[in-house]
């Protein structure tokens, strides 16, 4: 979760440019990660994250300090990405272009990087099967440890709608995974079979 000093937010609300730059520094990773999980493309994620901060900058006076700043900021990002996905309808994922990622594990190397890249692609492929709202709910729940209430607040939904969407998304992803396993398994078998057959 993002930790931000309330004084910094107050200074930014009073028009302090340096304070807002501090907020951008502190929140860029979570915002970018949400945009990347939502859109599946590094360039589009960068664009969406930048736009999120611009919108936050222009609407900072409207931010209610009683609410969590991270929820407010990620809500802007999620709504922007949902709009982008609705406009796009069809998501095209660039398989070659991966974003700059945090070190995945303790043993970096070509094999590890390849494995990590494959995992990223599998996650993205699963998320891409979901609708925009379900995708944002899943991302906020599993990557940001948001509660049902926080997701409901961020996505302007009811708590029961969030629970329902998450349940539907889990079932959909499990079924997709199951289908992928059954379709990839025979080809893997063939790969290891003797050339005599």
């Amino acid at each position: 979760m993002i930790q931000i000093e309330p004084e910094v937010i107050q200074q930014a609300q009073n028009g302090n440019q340096q304070a807002f730059t501090t907020l951008v520094e502190a929140c860029q990773k979570p915002v970018y990660n949400l945009c990347y999980r939502m859109l599946g493309d590094p360039d589009e994620a960068e664009d969406a994250a930048q736009e999120t901060f611009l919108r936050a900058y222009h609407n900072l006076r409207r931010y209610d300090r009683q609410r969590s700043f991270s929820t407010w900021l990620l809500s802007i990002a999620a709504h922007y990405c949902i709009d982008q996905l609705r406009r796009r309808r069809l998501t095209l994922i660039s398989i070659d272009a991966d974003p700059a990622l945090d070190p995945p594990d303790l043993a970096p190397g070509p094999e590890s990087a390849f494995h990590h890249s494959q995992e990223q692609q599998r996650v993205q492929a699963l998320l891409d099967t979901l609708g925009p709202q379900d995708r944002s709910a899943v991302t906020l729940y599993y990557w940001y440890d948001f509660s049902y209430d926080e997701i409901a607040e961020a996505l302007s939904l009811t708590v029961s709608a969030v629970k329902s969407r998450l349940h539907r998304a889990r079932l959909s992803m499990a079924q997709t995974w199951s289908e992928q396993e059954t379709t990839s398994y025979p080809t893997e078998r063939k790969h290891h079979e003797s050339p005599a057959f």
Partner: protein, 177 residues
Amino acid sequence: MNHQPFRSWLLSEEPLPPEQAQALNEHLQDCEACRQIDTSWSKVFGLFQCVSPAAPAPGFTERWQQRLIAQRMAAQRRQAWIAVAVTAGTALLLLLILGIQVVQILRAPAQLLLMWIARLTSLVNVLVDIQKFILMVLNSGPIIPITLAIFFTGFICFISVAWLATYRQMTSNWRIA
């Protein structure tokens, strides 16, 4: 077989009561489809746990600042264009009105001259009426008694002198320094 309640329990991340957990386990032993969902979801969840968050390329904040500057400049340009368009539109409108006037003068100069003379005459009439009204009010007798007027004028003079003295005192060099 109705899989719905079992799938709801299976995919729920909240702890189940013991009787529901037992019913789910019994169902999973018999139902291949639900078992597959259970296994697949466990794998998906495991994948979510091990995948690290994506981070932007270095220099994100600088790029954002450049974008903000570019956006401001674009807004300023847009405002400048709007101002130019409004000015040009107003100038065109004035030119159009002037053109119509010129055409009217060229077509019938005598009528236009008569119309303007009539307007000036009516304006002079209005001014004369106002003058008559003011004279009537002044001739009807003093509105303020003479002693009160003298007292009031004296008071205004005194206040003005006091204000000037205070101002001079306040703005003197030793006080500002």
